[in-house]
Symmetry: C2
Subunit: 381 residues, 2 copies
């Protein structure tokens, strides 16, 4: 909703979203996946916003990826009809999956073991509604999934296919791509995703099983992939906003980050070169995702009120509602003069985590003649 919000009357902390930067980020990945000739299935877990989903999804209705069944319910109610729930299914959740499917949503799920597959086959038969399933493939040792040569792959495929579920395909996610920097390294992980998922698809097909969908992706690999032969769709989430973790590994520039937290200076400890602000971890999250990168950004990079990055100034520590701004370690220049009442913006380490701390986005419209808008977001399961 567009409401009569004035920028200088916003409370602090507030979560700001720069529409122009967001639309640029969305456009960038859409163009790249078009050149790769694959479908894009954005992950809505980052934004959890209906307003943003409508700008992000082709035609506003999908395809989309979600991380909770609550997201599936909210986005389906908002018109998104093709939804992949991309967390390995707990058998206890299948009744809810079938309830969402019965309401008309093309909801698919993922799994990587036989007990899950048996439970899904049973839930499919019991409701006479075949649940579409992607088998999760492990391409990089990051988390869940089967190696493509694991004999369980065919066993699980048969349990699903013979058990009246819908074996729709395979899926992988190279989460380890977040730990390396540079286009070449990310392209190598994209190739790991492609090779593992295509090998798994071929193994299923060789066993006489269907595998129409081959789904890969992470934000770093999606932007760096050069060839996705055999892949049908790409998933990515944080690219909509970007963040310091992504900037730190070279997927974007800090200037591309569309999300920031508006904060106010509330005090100083001059003998320690500290500036105290009213954005702590409740506003930023506890995510210290850049702490293992070449440059540790603390809880975030400081910008002025208009969003201009202030070199070498970071939110170096945080309590629940207090943040302490300092120079980066090693910088001995005098601190800038930022009196009590000065407003600043902090760029987040991890956009998914920072957004989750807030009930809404304050949209800074691409057209500055438009009013600020308040876009609600949600959490929960």
């Amino acid at each position: 909703m567009a409401i009569d919000l004035r920028f200088n009357e916003l409370i602090t902390p507030s979560l700001l979203l720069d529409e122009a930067k967001m639309m640029h980020n969305i456009d960038r990945l859409e163009k790249h996946t078009k050149t790769l000739n694959v479908s894009l299935r954005p992950h809505l877990k980052t934004t959890k916003s209906i307003d943003i989903a409508h700008r992000l999804l082709a035609g506003g209705n999908g395809p989309a990826t979600v991380s909770t069944l609550a997201e599936a319910e909210v986005f389906f109610a908002a018109g998104v009809t093709d939804i992949l729930y991309a967390v390995g299914i707990a058998p206890q959740k299948l009744a809810r999956v079938q309830s969402i499917r019965a309401s008309g949503c093309n909801l698919s799920i993922i799994l990587d073991n036989a007990p899950q597959a048996k439970a899904v086959a049973k839930a499919s038969r019991d409701a006479k509604n075949p649940i579409p399933v992607l088998i999760e493939i492990d391409s990089d040792g990051h988390r869940g999934g089967l190696r493509p040569d694991d004999p369980q792959l065919i066993e699980i495929g048969r349990i699903l296919h013979d058990g009246e579920a819908e074996l729709r395909g395979v899926l992988t996610h190279a989460g380890e791509s977040y730990t390396v920097a540079g286009k070449k390294a990310h392209a190598d992980f994209a190739e790991l995703e492609r090779v593992a998922s295509v090998a798994a698809a071929n193994a299923l097909k060789a066993a006489g099983l269907p595998c129409p969908v081959v789904s890969v992706g992470s934000t770093p690999t999606a932007h760096s992939a050069r060839d996705l032969s055999g892949v049908t769709e790409v998933r990515a989430g944080v690219y909509v906003f970007f963040d310091l973790v992504m900037a730190g590994i070279g997927v974007c520039r800090q200037e591309d980050i569309a999300l920031s937290v508006l904060t106010t200076v509330i005090g100083h400890q001059n003998d320690r070169n500290w500036i105290l602000v009213d954005a702590g971890w409740m506003a930023m999250s506890r995510d210290l995702g850049t702490s293992g990168q070449a440059v540790d950004q603390g809880y975030g990079v400081v910008c002025d009120e208009a969003g201009n990055i202030q070199p070498d100034l970071i939110l170096s520590s945080a309590n629940q509602e207090h943040g302490i701004i300092t120079h980066r370690p090693g910088i001995t220049a005098p601190m800038p003069d930022l009196p009590v009442g000065t407003r600043l913006r902090i760029l987040p380490n991890h956009a998914c985590a920072t957004a989750a701390q807030h009930s809404h986005y304050t949209l800074i419209p691409a057209d500055y003649n438009n009013a600020l808008a308040k876009w609600p977001r949600f959490n929960g399961w």
Copy 2:
């Protein structure tokens, strides 16, 4: 509200609150502050729950501490009338402070510098409603506040007193007490709080200024203080729930922790001794508060479904909706057999941060004959 929730039908992840443990924790600090002959002003930022505030506050209406003006508004609407907003005031927030005060709330604030004091004096005069102020004192170099011998203390006191605000007293918080372990070390920090705040109060009085309130506290110091001569009230927050950070420094036992996250096993990577569950950082928060302690608990300690601690099993890593359970480093025993669908509880590092990730508590009643209850909580500013 008590609703017809059955424990085995709870969705996962869910935030569980053990009422018996919570009431024991509340009772423990109430008894200790009575022996010290000081008033207890609980910090409601941990729970952000009206149901819990009513069990926590004497007579249900205060005194209380809050970390946001949104908390002040919600708790005042729920009957809490004596509220201290314990984050240094931003001048832009004074109109809202006066609006809350005008509705009948005895809302007080804190500050530590002359620009804030001038703004508060002006807001007091403009509304003809003297805002009660505690001057923040720095007792341990942790964050904000003036050293008790800083000449600005008297200057600020005069700005407030002569400027028609209400100089109500001084306040300190030894946040550094979280970084040391053991009753003796915490008692030493409690004495730092007492000495610094009483010295500041005496300096104000010697200058002819009023100082009726001397407010100190943190959960570690509140439980370990032996003598609070000169202090009028103690503040603490996380003691209601306790958490692994507090257990790690000896303020409580792990068995006293009243908060946990219910989760379900969704898979295994047997060659890596990993158990995958559906509680990631969205359910636990990104807080790794025990990482600097003697025992690093990762994202939390694993319990069985009934809450019994599983020795040496921790949530060692987390993505947004995935957690990976492993043994602690160095343990080579076989992993326990926890099939897909098994439910577990995870004890949190930091109760304030974990609770903030959830919209409600599921109350496990002290009397097991009573129904589970759903207690809402809130966030925001």
